[in-house]
């Protein structure tokens, strides 16, 4: 800005025209610049105000939200802590420890990223968990232990942050290692072992609620990206057999509805694994959802690879890089960057699709609500409130994903072309 060239300095201090600055200026240029702009603005305003009035008076007046409170913890963990799943013991602490592990990982992510979006997400999760401890239930319905473990999410975030500050575990790969380990440990905790107090084995048919959606989504997201990359590379392979297999896989999994695949999984997945391989409906659902999503992921990534300038690989070859090095250091990083919106769209679709596991008898968060209404007809009038609540829950998760992806894109856009 400041140069020793007098002309430029003078020119750069001329203020923009008055009407273009400030709130009034913004309103004038964006909302009221012509007569049809003005008309559209007024009509939109009327519609928005009317909708908000209608929505708010309903939400705080006529709406009957009791169904949400009645179901309560079932939304979160399904039938996990019921008498039939965990007889004579309190097993609520197990999913709660899973959540604590997740917040520790988020805290580490915050530390590694050095703030920004990771910090916001980590704090948001911890604060929401902690605030849930204030739900005005009787202690009979929500014990002190449950509440304390919820509040513990706040120190857990800072524990994760402290790990990256005061131990050598402060790189992305460490977050990934701790993340995967936490996920496996959570699965182990949820599953339980015979004979230990509070660790009564809980069959996966009792795993449910939002916990089930999140477990399936995390497994699907973490696995479908690498599998999708493998399929995309395979589809571009020069080896005809590899290429054919990948094309067949992609087209089959894209060509069949997920519901059908979930049905088929009960029959087909057992065929694909050794007989004594421990299987259950959750495992089968996870396999099918992951593979289904991988097929779409592969096509997204292939699109990104296709769009690369051939000069990129050529320059890398001229430098002496090997084919694998070119793929993993030059092509894929650029391809993935270019298709982040499509990849995140796929993650969001995957998260919503986890609801479909109701088809094989699992009680995800939506099915918990629907089955409850069906079994308790006196709550039938509350179906509207129930489904609006569920819609909001899903929206919060998917909006979170899309928010994070936009921040990541902004971050990566720095200087790229």
């Amino acid at each position: 800005m400041m140069t020793d060239n007098g002309d430029i300095t003078t020119a750069s201090v001329i203020a923009p025209p008055r009407s273009e600055v400030g709130v009034i200026g913004w309103l004038r240029t964006n909302l009221f610049s012509t007569w049809y702009d003005t008309t559209m603005t007024v009509i939109s305003l009327v519609v928005v105000v009317w909708l908000m009035w209608f929505g708010l008076t309903w939400a705080f007046g006529d709406a009957e939200w009791r169904v949400i409170g009645t179901l309560g913890g079932q939304f979160i963990i399904g039938q996990f802590n019921t008498e039939s799943a965990c007889p004579g013991q309190n097993c609520f602490w197990r999913p709660q420890v899973g959540l604590l592990l997740a917040t520790i990982v988020l805290g580490m992510a915050w530390g590694v990223a050095g703030g920004g979006t990771a910090k916001k997400v980590a704090l948001a999760v911890a604060v929401v968990a902690a605030v849930m401890s204030l739900i005005p239930y009787s202690f009979e319905r929500m014990g002190m232990d449950v509440r304390i473990l919820l509040v513990a999410n706040i120190p857990a975030v800072f524990l994760g942050l402290a790990i990256t500050r005061y131990t050598p575990w402060r790189e992305v790969k460490h977050v990934a290692i701790v993340g995967v380990a936490s996920f496996l440990l959570t699965l182990f905790l949820l599953r339980g072992v015979e004979g230990l107090p509070g660790m009564h084995p809980v069959s996966v048919i009792h795993w449910g609620g939002l916990m089930l959606n999140v477990l399936l989504a995390v497994a699907g997201i973490v696995l479908s990206l690498p599998i999708g990359i493998g399929l995309a590379l395979g589809r571009r392979s020069q080896l005809p057999v590899v290429k054919l297999l990948c094309v067949a896989f992609i087209e089959i999994f894209r060509g069949v509805p997920l519901i059908t695949l979930l049905f088929m999984s009960q029959v087909l997945v057992p065929l694909a694994f050794p007989e004594n391989f421990p299987q259950n409906s959750l495992f089968r659902a996870a396999v099918v959802i992951t593979l289904f999503s991988s097929a779409y992921m592969a096509e997204n990534i292939r699109g990104g690879l296709q769009a690369l300038h051939p000069g990129q690989a050529e320059a890398a070859r001229a430098l002496g890089l090997s084919g694998w090095q070119i793929t993993f250091l030059i092509s894929l990083p650029q391809a993935i960057r270019n298709v982040i919106p499509a990849i995140v769209g796929q993650f969001i679709a995957l998260f919503k699709d986890t609801s479909l596991v109701y088809i094989i008898g699992m009680l995800d968060v939506v099915e918990i609500g629907r089955a409850f209404i069906q079994g308790n007809p006196e709550y039938l009038p509350s179906a509207r409130e129930l489904f609006i609540f569920l819609a909001i829950v899903f929206w919060i998760f998917t909006y979170g994903m899309s928010y994070v992806s936009r921040r990541v894109e902004d971050h990566l856009r720095v200087g790229t072309r």
Binding site: H309, G311, A315, A318, L319, G320, Q325, L329, Q334, T416
Partner: protein, 252 residues
């Protein structure tokens, strides 16, 4: 040339014997034979589509020739992968469209091949990369991304990136054709400095000032064959072939 009085000058760096190249049924190189010695700076010119790019791209095996021999620094180009890798790390290339890696910083662009191909330790690679940026005159751009640089700066980074592998030969394919006139000079200056340091260079270019002042030899291509070669003095003042005369009259 400072290196011209050394005995090494007579050493053959690139030998091409009757090189043929087909793209499908299209005969792009129709028997090219020439020898380039150490420290020589050769300018290749000729009409569009005459096979100039194809010729220099066969030298580092970006294109495969189908007949004849190419021997680079004593290594014969064949389908042997080890030979190809050995050649590629000895021959640097600079492209018309820069082809920097947009997702890496300038410094990382330059350090990539030394780290991954030569397996140098990071501090050594960084030191060499910084001294090369110094050499092409833009050390202050090290942490920027290619997209934040001007065309001339990008091409100088591309030169530094190729030099980081410490090649014995540098190939340039129209390095200034994508540049605005005011940036051409900064790139040509970097190339001139490189030539003075004794690097063996093949430069496809129509910058005749550069050819006249810097090159030792000029090769005129047309329709996949070498029409004429000679010193810049002979080519400009006393061309033997009609096609050379015609072409030069069109571009000067």
């Amino acid at each position: 040339m400072t290196a011209s009085d050394e005995t090494a000058t007579t050493e053959e760096m690139i030998v091409c014997r009757d090189v043929h190249k087909w793209f499908g049924s299209f005969h792009a190189l129709k028997g090219v034979s020439t020898t380039i010695t150490r420290g020589e700076v050769v300018v290749v010119f000729g009409p569009s589509g005459s096979g100039k790019s194809t010729f220099i791209r066969t030298i580092n095996r970006l294109e495969e020739h189908q007949r004849g021999d190419i021997i680079v620094d004593g290594i014969e180009l064949s389908n042997d992968v080890r030979n190809i890798e050995a050649i590629r790390s000895e021959v640097g290339m600079v492209f018309q469209s820069f082809n920097l890696f947009p997702h890496l910083t300038v410094l990382d662009n330059i350090m990539l091949a030394p780290l991954k191909v030569r397996k140098w330790p990071k501090d050594q690679a960084e030191e060499v990369a910084m001294s090369l940026l110094e050499r092409v005159g833009i050390p202050e751009q090290a942490v920027k991304f290619p997209g934040e640089l001007s065309g001339g700066q990008q091409q100088r980074v591309a030169i530094a990136r190729a030099l980081a592998m410490q090649p014995k030969i540098m190939l340039f394919d129209e390095p200034t054709s994508a540049l605005d006139p005011e940036m051409i000079k900064e790139v040509l200056d970097a190339m001139r400095e490189l030539a003075e340091s004794g690097m063996t260079m093949i430069v496809v270019t129509h910058e005749m000032g550069f050819a006249r002042e810097v090159s030792n030899r000029m090769i005129m291509f047309d329709e996949g064959v070498i029409v004429e070669e000679g010193t810049p003095h002979d080519i400009f003042n006393n061309p033997q072939q009609e096609r050379t005369k015609l072409f030069l009259s069109q571009i000067i």
